[in-house]
Amino acid sequence: MPVPRTPYSGFLPTGFMLAVCFLLQGCPSPYEMRHENQWDSREQIGMAEASQVKLRAAQSRVFDTSDSRRILVAVVSTMQDLNFKVQVLDEELGVVSGKLLMSFERPYYPDLYYNLYDDQSLLLFSKNYRMWGPFWHRSDLVRLTVTVRKRNEKQSVVRASLQFYLQAVENPEPYQRFFQTIEKSLFLEGHPVQGPG
């Protein structure tokens, strides 16, 4: 015998849809969903030992030369080819660092401060209770730091660390390609770092 349909059964799916709509307002937006979630955001200040070891292996190579200038010149030229804005270059300390803006998000209001944003200045922060404008600047920012340290008389350790969309890049592929380019400029081969970091 078929179940009699009540006069209200048609409202159920509609009611459900309305409830879902209300609930969805409480859900994070797609942009927010792209941000890593955690219980305590202070965990990001340091770095877990396990992540460090993994990254170190992917990011470091040993080159059979102690000429850090030669390595730095090759690194800077590669960064220029990639359109990075090289901001830090210190030969004696063996550090090169640069940044690049890749626009993933298109802000829905015109944002004049996007490119003018001076993210170094602290004095800017207190001017407004809410800092308008370059909100997407941070997630669009790609940072690359390369350090060159002498391992011994004849070898140097080159380590490249990449930051992309608010995360440290752990995938070894971008680093492999980067080191391939450096190796070609130096006519040297880069070996992985063996032994304890």
Binding site: G26, E36, N37, Q52, T147, L166, Q167
Partner: protein
């Protein structure tokens, strides 16, 4: 706090200094700075500025500041107000480390390394009834957790093959 107080040492100043500084039995400042940059890189930081003449290195990292707890609060507030109120949640943070190395004696046999960690956190967007709250509300936080400083100096000590003495 009044402006005059900002230029006075407080009761916490010596404790903060002890937490943030270590002494190394070396006058080789370049090695200390180079190793510091490498240690910061190891901790996920990106070098942002170097002023070698005064022994300063600044490193930053931008990360997500999203927290489960805030997402849950946001969800329940939206639920109980039937979608009228959407509280902005923490979304992004920029953690900065400013490090200064300097000699502590004229003989050039000892140096002090002092590092300060702080972060700035930005909130995402929200809404209140029909009004949209734009994203970008910010707050800053000086980091006074001794663990991060200990972690940093433990690594620095290993990188320069020297013991890190407390003040």
């Amino acid at each position: 706090m009044q402006p005059t107080e900002f230029f006075e040492l407080t009761a916490e100043s010596p404790a903060n200094k002890a937490m943030q500084s270590r002494l190394f039995e070396t006058g080789n400042e370049k090695e200390l700075l180079s190793a510091s940059a490498a240690v910061l890189q190891d901790l996920g930081f990106q070098v942002d500025d170097i002023v070698r003449e005064v022994g300063m290195v600044r490193a930053v990292k931008e990360r997500s500041a999203r927290e489960h707890g805030q997402d849950i609060s946001h969800f329940f507030v939206a639920l109980f107000t039937l979608g009228y109120v959407g509280i902005p949640v923490d979304l992004q943070q920029k953690i900065t480390a400013v490090l200064v190395a300097r000699p502590t004696d004229y003989a050039g046999m000892r140096s002090e390394v002092r590092v300060t960690f702080y972060r700035v956190v930005w909130k995402g967007e929200g809404h209140f009834e029909r009004n949209q709250i734009p994203p970008g509300e910010q707050r800053m936080e000086m980091i006074y957790d001794p663990v991060i400083y200990q972690q940093f100096f433990a690594k620095l000590s290993k990188a320069v093959f020297l013991e890190a003495h407390t003040l």
